[in-house]
């Protein structure tokens, strides 16, 4: 009897599994196709790697132009960097970043010492 019961349970499990497997394709085929995200479709476009040299736009040269300066820059020239302007802030950022790292390290050391002191 035990064998029959076990066989019966197994058959039931197999039938249920078959139903579940069968339901999958039926649902996919019969229903409205839903776009499935693929790895290639959703892969983020990698940002251009930063480089020191800013890519220069292709100069627009007027064909047949007699201009002695065929590519005229836009606007004025930015030929003065003050002491408070951007270049010095680069170093400031670096220093600030290092300070943050050291500060985080200091917190870690403090926590470790607390744990050792309390035996944790």
């Amino acid at each position: 009897m035990r064998i029959i019961r076990r066989t019966g349970s197994t058959a039931l499990a197999v039938a249920a599994t078959a139903l579940l497997i069968g339901a999958g394709p039926a649902f996919a085929d019969g229903g409205t196709p839903t776009p499935v995200p693929s790895s290639t479709a959703t892969a983020p476009t990698p940002a251009p790697a930063p480089s020191e040299a800013t890519p220069e736009p292709a100069p627009t040269v007027t064909s047949g132009s007699d201009d002695q300066v065929p590519v005229v820059p836009r606007g004025a020239a930015d030929t003065g960097v003050t002491t408070t302007a951007a270049p010095s802030s680069g170093d400031g950022t670096l220093i600030g970043g290092l300070a943050a790292v050291f500060a985080a390290g200091g917190v870690g050391v403090y926590v470790l010492r607390r744990r050792r002191t309390t035996g944790a």
């Binding site: 002695q68 300066v69 590519v71 820059p73 020239a77 030929t79 960097v81 302007a85």
Partner: protein, 164 residues
């Protein structure tokens, strides 16, 4: 010493490599400049020993047309730029450009103008002229925030050209 050639006669195209302005103590190598991503003119690097730069879409010094060179007035924490005293030039002061091919072009200042950046005289700087001329550009005027309000522009004309 360069041997004098015909005064004002245009030269062949050859990039400038050295710029000398004795009246204000300038003796600098010259780098080549192009355009920045926003279409404005590229400027020399901000360094302790900053240099002048030649806008490479303009004629070379001594060619017919306006040859445009730029330099910083100040370079942030490094202090004065190579064109710090450009506004002290006066008509008649001499400017010498040594070119890559060994030729030397000598210019005389004809005008020094300080103009607001918002009213930059594009046509006067980059427009056609009927002789070899030079334009030296830097910043000047009062500071507005982190920027200079004006550009100082030196206009000069070729007076003599020769080979080394």
């Amino acid at each position: 010493m360069p041997s004098p050639g015909r005064a004002g006669r245009p030269l062949e195209r050859s990039a400038p490599v050295v710029l000398r302005i004795p009246a204000i103590g300038v003796d600098t190598p010259v780098v080549r400049l192009g355009l920045q991503a926003d279409g404005s003119v590229e400027v020399p690097a901000v360094t302790a020993d900053d240099r002048a730069g030649w806008y490479r879409y303009s004629p070379t010094p001594g060619q017919r047309g306006p040859s445009v060179l730029l330099g910083h007035v100040t370079v942030g924490k490094y202090g004065d730029g190579v064109f710090r005293r450009l506004d002290r030039l006066r008509p008649g002061d001499g400017i010498t450009a040594r070119l890559e091919n060994g030729t030397t072009a000598e210019f005389a200042v004809t005008a020094v103008r300080t103009v607001g950046k918002k009213e930059f005289p594009t046509a006067d700087v980059y427009g056609n002229v009927d002789r070899p001329e030079l334009r030296l550009i830097t910043c000047g005027g009062p500071l507005t925030g982190d920027e200079y309000r004006d550009n100082v522009i030196v206009f000069a004309v070729l007076t003599r050209a020769g080979e080394r």
